[in-house]
Symmetry: C2
Subunit: 437 residues, 2 copies
């Protein structure tokens, strides 16, 4: 890795370390892309051999982790709204994808997503979409940390002909990125309704052999759960458990319509939950009982889902939605307080993706995946409580600086790795193309 | 009124007129602060005696109406979060207000609120707080249209000693702003639990005599409804109806825990509902059945509530929260589609405040209360559906221009009437002051 050394002096640091420390008068020293030390600012200012980044009136925090997305679907943003999940998928999204998805679609759509995520504080994106090889390239170009869970699905698409084909291509992708600094690869079986049992079993075997992450849409709606019971006599999560697909490497995305027995099953297997509050609201999918899951010791991360069902890829906004929705879901305004919402969007995301030894908090030895938010923003005034302000008052645009492994990808709100004008041009041409139907 | 004449050429216009028209290649001609005509852009560009404002890549829409707020409470933003309404009011907010609220508090807090609202597209603010005379001055200075519903409450505060005193001061305020261009005044009895029956009756009599708006917190929680039944044997809305306080001039704020009989009562009296989705979520107050109310023909407007319970005064964000929450509340993803959410934040707000003959849509003869949002924003790409993008994809920062009665109050995202640096300085001094306890 290229050498990246600097010291940053923010006015405040939300560490998200195990003591939930908030530090003042403290600077972060970055060497070779890692956090070397947290020093008193007076001491850090005296360092002579290193670049100094002065960020008074900024709060520094770990970069946000978007633990579930379909980046390229930005190109379908707004093309189908205000309809139910099954109609949305069957009548709109899947036919459009059939017609349009190819390597260029994925490249251009992922680029919009990467830019949008960087601008709202994301430093790690998890992505599950066709042509994950292309998405991986775009994320690298953007400078983002990424996890690609390559799609596995029972239907033919532009990227794969069959289950065996998806697995073969995915395994090749895994080989390409073995031991890569920023990119990890996992298995992305779509759901228990779009992947038949033999293919789920094969996925379980390969994932276990490779000790690789698995991400699956699970219990997204009550309908999914009930129709699984009708079809195979089992709730989806029970099928996964039986097939050996539920483990500490499994990321269960959505998880509504959960009974206590389902929660026990998740906990007993050490699986992770990825909560997508805005997508669940927009599609009226159901409510994920986040507080209950956290109380049971289950790790819950946050995802935006794709831009066709959110319609933003704004992790700060998602954190706010999670905190608000948890209170309505549980009936308690004490549910998911600000500091827990921040954990969900940072360290919990890193745990879910299996990269919490690398990122998710600002601690010595971890990668310098950091964002700085301006506190000189009207919505952040007067500034009584930085955790509250970050969760409840931000819009995303307060994010002014971002680094991944010490590399500066956003500098005083200017993208450093992507060309906004080019993105706007390409998006305009897709708008015209997709309008032809 | 000062003469304000110009013509604006946006790329698209969301009119919110009775046909929900979206216009392209159309310009808006403003004379004397009013919309004189909507002309084909080629024709409008040929006008010679008038300033031209070229806003290609912008969508023009009616300014947003924040139909319920407590502007000065920005100074308490983040000071108490993640707790229930009664504890939040009794243990935190009311003691802090007792200690700190005075004319300067209201001036400085309202100024932050005004700036924040303008930056996120609000052109009309309804406000219910102490020293409404001061708030009215700040709103005028900011150039916002405003409705002040002066507080009426059973306890002594810095602004009033008793019910009679509140009414006397409020009536004087009404006299000051009689027939004012931008400011209207109404009655703001806090709630049926904080105002006793004789005072509610007196309010009803005076409001009817003056044909003035009345705004009241109503059915904010199930607890409020049940304890009213225990205390007086009536649900709050039934008490209002009995006292003659429920009419087409009444704005019922919050409205959760509604049975069908309550909905009938609102409809039968032609009263308005002001829905505050984020405040209701954050305090876990309950769910307002927005879709049911709209289906019943009831006018539902949108409010942010105060920054101590939201914590943003961002009407675009509130519109998004309303659309998402309605789907979860009703279990239907078709509930509150984008165009209806926009109506709630514009024309419905104007109807609730009794000013829909003046504002709330872009139509000939109405005041030029307009905002322009940039569509060259990452989150607005690729731009398949402007209504969807405005509701589901914006963060608030897309608002670049704003006019109230033709006066330009936001120009390419720079505030024209307020001094951001001065606001930041004053907020910092309040942060220090309030931290002393």
């Amino acid at each position: 890795m290229e050498t990246v050394n600097f010291v940053v002096h923010p006015s405040e640091i939300i560490t998200v370390n195990s003591h939930s420390e908030i530090l003042r008068d403290t600077s972060v020293v970055v060497r070779d892309g890692k956090i070397e030390s947290l020093l008193p600012t007076t001491e850090a200012r005296a360092l002579r051999d290193i670049a100094q980044v002065d960020l008074s009136d900024h709060v520094l925090m770990p970069g946000l982790i978007n633990a579930h997305g379909h980046a390229a679907m930005t190109l379908l943003r707004g093309i189908a709204d205000d309809m139910a999940l099954s109609q949305w998928l069957n009548d709109k999204i899947w036919p459009l994808e059939n017609k349009w998805v190819d390597q260029v679609f994925v490249m251009d759509g992922t680029e919009i997503a990467a830019a949008e995520m960087i601008m709202s504080g994301v430093t790690t994106a998890s992505d599950q979409y066709f042509f994950p090889d292309i998405a991986a390239q775009v994320f690298q170009q953007a400078g983002l940390r990424a996890q690609l869970t390559f799609p596995i699905i029972d239907v033919e698409t532009a990227w794969g002909r069959s289950g065996a084909d998806y697995l073969e291509k995915g395994l090749a992708l895994g080989d390409t990125y073995r031991d890569h600094d920023l990119v990890t690869v996992g298995f992305g079986p779509h759901s228990n309704y779009a992947v038949d049992e033999p293919l789920l079993e094969r996925t379980a075997t390969l994932a276990a052999e490779l000790d690789a992450p698995v991400q699956i849409h699970l219990h997204e709606t009550a309908h999914e759960v009930l129709s699984s019971v009708e079809r195979i006599g089992e709730r989806p999560i029970d099928q996964l458990a039986r097939l050996g697909l539920l483990s500490p490497k499994t990321q269960c995305v959505h998880m509504t319509a959960l009974g206590n027995q389902d929660i026990d099953t998740i906990a007993d297997h050490g699986a992770h939950v990825v909560h997508c509050p805005k997508s669940n609201m927009k599609l009226a999918s159901g409510l994920c009982p986040v507080s209950k899951l956290l109380d049971r010791g289950i790790n819950v991360a946050l995802g935006t889902d794709g831009a066709a069902s959110n319609n933003r890829l704004n992790a700060l906004n998602e954190m706010q939605a999670a905190a608000l929705l948890a209170k309505i879901e549980s009936g308690s305004p004490e549910a998911l307080p600000a500091h827990k919402a921040i954990e969900m969007a940072t360290i919990n995301g890193a745990k879910a993706l299996g990269i919490d030894h690398i990122t998710g908090s600002l601690e010595v030895g971890k990668a310098a995946d950091m964002i700085a938010l301006s506190t000189r923003e009207l919505a952040m005034l007067p500034g009584h409580n930085i955790l509250s302000d970050v969760v409840y008052a931000t819009s995303g645009n307060e994010v002014r600086w971002s680094w991944v492994a010490g590399h500066n990808i956003l500098r005083d709100r200017r993208l450093q790795t992507l060309d906004t004008e080019a993105i706007l041009r390409k998006a305009a041409s897709w708008r015209v193309k997709l309008a032809t139907g």
